[in-house]
Symmetry: C2
Amino acid sequence: MDDQDPPTGIDSVAVARAGNRSLSVMDQIREAILDGSVSAGERINEVKFSRTLTVSRTPVRAALQALAGEGLLDYAPNRGFTVREFPLDAIVDAYEIRASLEGVAARFAAERGLGPEERAIIEQSLVAGDKLLERGSFGPGDLAAYRSINGDFHETLLSAARNRMLAEMIRICHHVPMSSSRNIVAFEHRDVRRRHDDHHRIFEAVMAREPHRAEMLMREHVSGVKASLIRSLTDRSEPPV
Amino acid sequence: MDDQDPPTGIDSVAVARAGNRSLSVMDQIREAILDGSVSAGERINEVKFSRTLTVSRTPVRAALQALAGEGLLDYAPNRGFTVREFPLDAIVDAYEIRASLEGVAARFAAERGLGPEERAIIEQSLVAGDKLLERGSFGPGDLAAYRSINGDFHETLLSAARNRMLAEMIRICHHVPMSSSRNIVAFEHRDVRRRHDDHHRIFEAVMAREPHRAEMLMREHVSGVKASLIRSLTDRSEPPV
DNA sequence: CGCCTTCTAAGTGAATACACTTATTAAATG
DNA sequence: CATTTAATAAGTGTATTCACTTAGAAGGCG
């Protein structure tokens, strides 16, 4: 009942997750990795981190274990944790894997059907996207807005698949550095338009209870995102991160 | 500097994994879960486990974290870890997910090509399977032998896919209780024959560098395993575990 | 001059002690 | 008699300590 006041100024961003410190620490370390504050291949020093975060090594270790489970870190006995490297090949592959998994999710959703509020959320995401894309170009913040819409669509469809393992694996795909939604900023208007069209068709297939078609459309959809990313990396050789 | 002598006699079974105790403990707990020694939904008591395994809570917690990462355990703050439940639906779904993932692996392998020794191992697994299936029925231990052959085939193809994330996800699918290879015992001779035929065709597609065909064949192959399992569960209502 | 050995520092692995949260039981009150 | 509340026990969360392993540096030896 002494040191319950939040530490120095680290939690500033995430204000700490509910429950225990390990989870909060986990989020912070993940952020540090995805931000690039700690670079790939780097070895993680537990005591250093615990000092930085003003906690003991225990929650730090717990967080590291969990992040290793997510695939962000490697572990070697007596050598601790290192930040896993994600070469471009692996990132592109991750999109392919995600495409396959989200395809299965769409199929499951089409087989199982949407609940009323799931349907409502998706329909809302579709009209919101339509409205956003009405004008032929983006204003400031429009891309961020669409990112949120996009997230709603995919997350809701995923929850309609009603399979936890699937959800977790897709979540892992999202956490691959650079494939995370935060980094997908450099998209043209026509790219987004095309993707939003995909959403419409996927929704139709799901509502029509056409599992196979829903799966194929979703696979193609995510593969398209991969293609866009590759283009944005090669055209202007300006890596988003 | 007193109690450095190794503990009583715990490592007896698994002789402990190289490196640290956490990994050894992890294996033991996983075994306990997959064996059913601790039942699904059950809450795991850390102190109890540490007493049973004659280690402190620290490596136990580390192992639990890691197993949660593998998806075998659930975690809730201040409530610790519970054994995740795998209803039949989830197990069947896991096969579907694995089919999709191994399909991608086969595609990657066909795109990237097999290394010389990978090719050798697979060819060997094919001839070994042919020989085993020549006679029209199984002797004792033949099924176990084929399980090993089957494992070689899939593992080698997976390594040829050259993607770590994919490998880990498939590994997770294998660790789902009852979908683990250890439990697939109740197969007819014709089932195995069919599956082995699949192997031949998949190998051909991979060698012919036909990614799409390889993917489709592998998906169908694993889905077939799922179907066999379902049949073996429903026909005789004798659950393998 | 180069290589091997040894010593030392740094960092991880494990154990223990303590703090805090949750659940259960009993008691008291309506 | 039921319901709520307080006390207590059990169990998880965190910190700290010590042991052990590994890596780096310095010195001796070939």
